[in-house]
Symmetry: C2
Subunit: 255 residues, 2 copies
């Protein structure tokens, strides 16, 4: 699915405006005033007021005593029914917890949505290196351990779009050369794992492995993120691959 | 907040019908055909078709190759911004994991929404007794460990509504007598914990404790659910209370 889930203009006038109001919220802006919402959604304040009232009544948003709007519990509750989000997460969680307890490092579970990574789960290891990701957060497909796995197994048109587009450079180690990136992706497919070494921040290293659904299709990726210069990445590879395979097996076995 | 988050008829005609379509989905019915959605939302099929197309374009729902609709990743992503859902869960998760690792039992985190419990997180203990709850799932406020805590600290009108309403009996141990239930709730407030002994199923026992936000307000509850006849509940109480206090502290401390 190449759809980005961002405002696309493909929604009709009836529902479209209400959905555009919800698009104003993000991880960076989880609390918004009515005027901010109207401005971001490019909707007159009076219209925004009426639609937010409807969305409030249903529970999509909640209005605090401070007058600010936040995403409501009803939306969280409905969102928890998304098979590619909560469904995958529930199934994978026991394995991710095992990986977390055994490695004591950061464990991440992610899927690809269009040309981005979305983090579905994140377990911070006790005493592990701090990482930037959050559940529900997005990231570029290049550079992270999970991203490289997901990009390596993405359809050719997605790979072309990402590799020929502008590739963000996070550190001096971030691979931005198209030819080198293509070689890395070929290695990921051949070896069955990815290593992102200082590509996001110089002090972290990430090892990722693919999770398969049915039909040999990669549906998600799991990774360990550790402090660079600590455990050798090659010691982590078998751990991450074993965990990814266990989750793949659980996904393919009848419920 | 006494709003149930269910279709209330309070939404206007513009957005209301689209939201009613989403209400057709539930944990019991996560995959629906167009005609089922139309029937459940009491909307003509042609209208449902048009609105589902709009919701699909935005990512609120996804349509599989089997023609069935499911809740989409975009809704999960937006839902993850709800402070009372994902926000609380993210903050509490490290403490819940500690509780899970130390006890090896089932750990649950829940909040009250109107006259029901909503489970925000659930970590299944390795080898622990199976439990029925799921993240995003609802349950009655009576009978469960977390429910008794949340009901004990609910406003008087909510308590009256629940206690004077019909109280579901799950087992022969479920307390349904209003006077006895009120005594139990008073004990929960006095003691700082709840014990639900075989009230949901005869083979399980749950110990719950309150999580406080600012202003001495109970905002959530945490519990351990264990096999009945195993560990004495009084050995579990200090564990659960300590964990609840740690989460309360984290909630009150500035980010």
């Amino acid at each position: 699915m190449a759809r980005r889930g961002r405002p696309t203009g493909s929604t009709g006038p009836v529902v479209g405006r209400a959905l555009r109001l919800l698009d104003a919220f993000s991880a960076q802006r989880p609390e918004l005033s009515l005027s901010e919402i109207a401005r971001r959604a490019e909707v007159p304040v009076a219209t925004a007021h009426r639609l937010m009232h409807e969305l409030c009544g249903w529970g999509a948003v909640e209005r605090g005593e401070d007058g600010l709007y936040r995403i409501g519990l009803r939306l969280w509750e409905l969102g928890s029914l998304a098979p590619r989000g909560q469904g995958l997460r529930e199934l994978a969680l026991p394995f991710l917890e095992d990986l977390s307890q055994i490695s004591r490092e950061n464990v991440q579970l992610a899927i690809r949505e269009g040309s981005e990574v979305i983090f579905i789960e994140r377990i911070a290891g006790s005493g592990a290196v701090p990482v930037l990701t959050r559940v529900g957060g997005r990231f570029a497909l290049t550079a992270t351990g999970v991203g490289l796995v997901l990009l390596a197994h993405a359809p050719a048109d997605v790979q072309d779009e990402v590799i020929n587009g502008s590739i963000e450079r996070y550190t001096s180690h971030t691979v931005t050369d198209p030819a080198e990136l293509r070689r890395m992706l070929a290695d990921v497919r051949t070896n069955g794992f990815s290593i992102s070494d200082g590509q996001i921040s110089l002090d972290t290293l990430s090892v990722g492995a693919p999770i398969y659904g049915g039909h040999e299709q990669v549906v998600a990726a799991v990774s360990l993120v550790v402090r660079n210069g600590g455990t050798s990445p090659h010691a982590l590879v078998p751990l991450v691959r074993t965990s990814a395979r266990a989750i793949s097996r659980a996904l393919s076995s009848p419920a």
